[in-house]
């Protein structure tokens, strides 16, 4: 914490931490529709609006599809724009998520991760955001309320960076983070202001041949989101892929800069390695479960077991090289997925981790554990069992079941 900016501790749950961070980020427009477990974010933010604590245009829309449409339109005028959603709400935004990333609108959205129906379930898993992994949005998953708070500021900086210009989702596990009160260290408004700054705009050439900032402006009319037939569409998709590649660098840079301000670091912003350097058996996971894994690692280390964790903080863009390097020395690794990819031979995190390792000379035995669907708890003893399984695989070299389920009744 040496040289870090002055901070105070507030009791905030994950949703409140998001709302407080959005308030400090000097957001111009919020358009949202409430859905559990995200509701507190928008409720809290509407209080700030009602109390005159923010200078934000707050729009209550009739659906999430409209909310994202309004956010896109607001961002197109150059406004800093924020929203929040979850589960079915995020699913209803699906079409507009692609339009937003395709228009390169740097909207920031918090997603309180929740299961998708049916059966109806309001509790936490990653089905909602994992289903949107190809929507062209950057995805960052937080481990605790503190990281949720910190990630919102970083998200604005990443989204609005001139080499990126892509929307960002910040995932916080429904209820586990969204509704659980934690001590959160908050920065002073001025410190945040200095960090997030004002929104930058790239220059584009208009149909009139003028080079102007990329925003809807009556003085400099331009057509955004036009039709692009087979002779042009492909090129714009390739541009988005380049922006994702650039984001890998930008996420780390922004993370480090914020780390200097706040004194808090989450690995390198892309992945966080916990007791990984000499680890023989490793768990790779996303989100709040990492906290439980760290506790179990401490117990195992005390017993002399070389256990480690690789937390994937940024899922899009997927830091494939970092992951391949980080897992290269392990003997056996368990990749944990809090969502299903039905018929996909494992979950999304497993697919991509395995893909990242394909070209590596050395890679561990890799097993997929699906867990926690519909908010089912994951306990330290279950995580210990995963490490025991990894130990057995490391010793015998035999992987019997490649895809396994934790806490599922047979």
């Amino acid at each position: 914490m040496k040289n870090a900016a002055k901070q105070e501790v507030m009791g905030l749950n994950g949703d409140e931490a998001v709302a407080y961070a959005a308030k400090q980020s000097d957001v111009d427009v919020v358009a949202a529709y409430p859905i559990t477990p995200q509701t507190i974010i928008v409720e809290k933010f509407s209080e700030y609006v009602a109390n005159g604590e923010v200078n934000t245009e707050f729009m209550c829309t009739e659906s999430e599809h409209s909310a994202m449409t309004a956010c896109l339109a607001a961002a197109a005028t150059g406004a800093r724009t924020f929203t929040a959603s979850a589960s079915a709400g995020l699913a209803l935004m699906h079409e507009m998520l692609f339009v937003t990333s395709g228009c390169r609108a740097p909207v920031v959205m918090a997603v309180a991760n929740r299961a998708l129906s049916a059966p109806l379930n309001i509790h936490g898993d990653h089905s909602d955001t994992m289903a949107q992994r190809d929507s062209g949005w950057i995805q960052i998953y937080a481990e605790n309320a503190q990281e949720v708070y910190d990630s919102v500021f970083q998200a604005f900086r990443i989204a609005e960076h001139l080499d990126v210009q892509l929307p960002v989702m910040v995932g916080l596990d429904g209820f586990t983070l969204s509704h659980t009160l934690e001590n959160v260290k908050v920065l002073e408004d001025e410190a945040v202001k200095g960090f997030v700054g004002t929104r930058q705009l790239p220059n584009v050439m208009t149909h009139e041949g003028r080079t102007v900032p990329y925003r809807l402006d009556p003085e400099n009319p331009m057509t955004m989101g036009p039709v692009a037939l087979p002779n042009y569409y492909f090129e714009f998709k390739r541009q988005q892929e380049e922006a994702m590649k650039n984001a890998l660098k930008v996420i780390s840079q922004v993370h480090d800069e914020y780390g200097q301000l706040s004194g808090r670091h989450y690995g390198n912003g892309l992945v966080e390695k916990y007791r990984l350097d000499d680890a023989e058996i490793v768990i790779a996971c996303v989100g709040s479960t990492a906290g439980t894994v760290k506790t179990v690692i401490e117990d195992l280390r005390a017993e002399g077991v070389k256990a480690g964790l690789l937390r994937i903080r940024t899922f899009r863009p997927f830091p494939a090289e970092e992951i391949a390097k980080a897992l290269g020395k392990a003997k056996a690794a368990a990749v944990m997925d809090k969502s299903m990819s039905f018929g996909g031979n494992g979950g999304a995190v497993f697919h991509e981790t395995r893909h990242a390792l394909y070209d590596s000379q050395n890679h561990p035995y890799l097993v997929n554990y699906i867990y926690g669907l519909g908010g089912r708890d994951i306990s330290p003893s279950q995580i210990r069992k995963v490490y025991e399984d990894m130990q057995k695989i490391a010793q015998t070299g035999k992987v019997e079941e490649k895809i396994r389920y934790i806490g599922l009744r047979e």
């Binding site: 057509t223 989101g225 036009p226 002779n231 541009q239």
Partner: protein, 91 residues
């Protein structure tokens, strides 16, 4: 694709239109095109009004209309609306 068209590194961000729509010839994918029977045409100009693409122009110097085939999409509305059936759509 023609090598004259810009690649992804040169193209504007997110497809912002960098040229006037007048230079984007939208009539190049038509199947049918209008053919006029000059004996039947009374030059009432209804076709110029109905054309959704503004691709039929009144030319005062010629005292006649002109189809702009660069923008005509071949929809056939002109043929449908022509009161004397002077326009037919042909491949």
């Amino acid at each position: 694709m023609s090598s004259k068209e810009k690649g992804w590194k040169e193209l504007s961000l997110a497809g912002v239109c960098w040229k006037s729509s007048k230079t984007y010839l939208t009539g190049d994918w038509k199947t049918y095109q209008p053919v006029r029977d000059l004996e039947k045409c009374t030059k009432c100009l209804l076709c110029t009004i109905f054309c959704p693409d503004g691709a039929i122009h009144w030319k005062p110097e010629k005292g006649d209309i002109e189809f702009d085939m660069s923008f005509c999409k071949g929809c056939g509305i002109c043929a449908n609306e022509c009161p004397t059936k002077a326009i037919t759509m042909k491949i």
